[in-house]
Amino acid sequence: MTDLLSRIRQGDSAAWTALTGQYTNLLWAVARSQRMNESDAADAVQTAWLRLIENIDDIREPDRLGSWLATIVRRECHDIRRRAARLRPGGTEELDAPGEADDPLDSALLRDERDAALWRAFAGLRPPCRRLLRVLMADPPPSYTEVAAALDIAVGSIGPTRQRCLKCLRDLLRASDGQIFSERDHAARGPAGDHRDHAARRPAEDHRDHAARGPADGRKG
């Protein structure tokens, strides 16, 4: 990373291309985890790149570059939401403002029925889980330090929350499996809504004992 940065500072555009290739997917995941629609997500990501290029000579900790970029995207997303709330008279800044990306149709793009069910189950998770898992889905997988920066949460909380959220996801998936096989013809009616009801009925406390066992995952940021 240090080498890549020094090449960029010397004007090597191939090094810049390599860097954007490495992090754009993560930055996109961060913006989408904040429920930005495609155009706002694109703006937030681009702002981070513009900020980096103008500060390229001042980056002191190359190893924290991913966290630095992720933090900018998170703040930009807050900023975009804040501004959108201002432009709507009487608007609020709640995280699930109407008109934002939920993308239930995305699952229609998936030919594989299991993938579609998994993606719908993911969309049915509560917002904190959806945010965390969306960032963890970045490719290449982000370090926990980067995830912490992306979501403004403690590094130590990531492992346990990840475990709990994936358990919730499996529960939703099991519920949808039942639906697929017993009520196949009802699936077209919009199963995502049903999943959300399911999530709402299932208090997070159910999983707390599970999470309290601590991070079985030894990954460090």
Partner: protein, 157 residues
């Protein structure tokens, strides 16, 4: 440990699916690559010195404080011998910048957006207006009478 492997597998499946239905569009990757071209090694930077919707507000987002400058967004940049004050106004979906340039004499200015460069006509008192802007990152760029170049940092309006 089996549970952990199981979790990794599930997350890998999600990562694969996200890659196919919610990856960054090609235009986002292209714009990221093109950002390199905005690098201007010679221009001096005018830094943001005042923002009525200040950066501190980032961290107060959840508290949603009442903004005394609501509707009047004022930005000031300073550096390279000039000061640039901008007021951002929203006008029927588009944005309008009403600006004031002070300091050293300026030969010409332009407003850079992601879609290109808009010439800015500065009157003898240093005032200028740019209308019909779409929300997004902008930066103001000026050539001073002495030949030096100054650019503001990117700011998203």
């Amino acid at each position: 440990m089996r549970g952990v492997d199981h979790d990794d597998k599930l997350l890998a499946d999600l990562r694969r699916i996200a890659g196919s239905v919610d990856g960054p569009p090609a235009s986002v990757l292209e714009a990221a690559r093109a950002a390199f071209l905005t690098r201007d090694l010679d221009a001096e930077i005018a830094h943001l010195v005042a923002d009525s919707r200040g950066p501190a507000a980032f961290e107060q987002v959840r508290a949603a404080p009442e903004d005394p400058a609501q509707g009047h967004w004022l930005l000031s940049f300073s550096g390279g011998g000039v000061q640039i004050d901008l007021e951002v106004e929203s006008d029927a979906g588009a944005l309008r910048l009403v600006g004031m340039l002070s300091g050293e004499p300026v030969e010409e200015c332009a407003l850079r957006t992601e879609s290109g460069s808009h010439p800015v006509t500065v009157d003898e008192l240093g005032r200028f207006v740019v209308e019909g802007l779409a929300p997004g990152p902008i930066r103001m760029f000026c050539r001073l009478a002495g030949g030096r170049r100054v650019t503001t940092r990117w700011i998203r309006i």
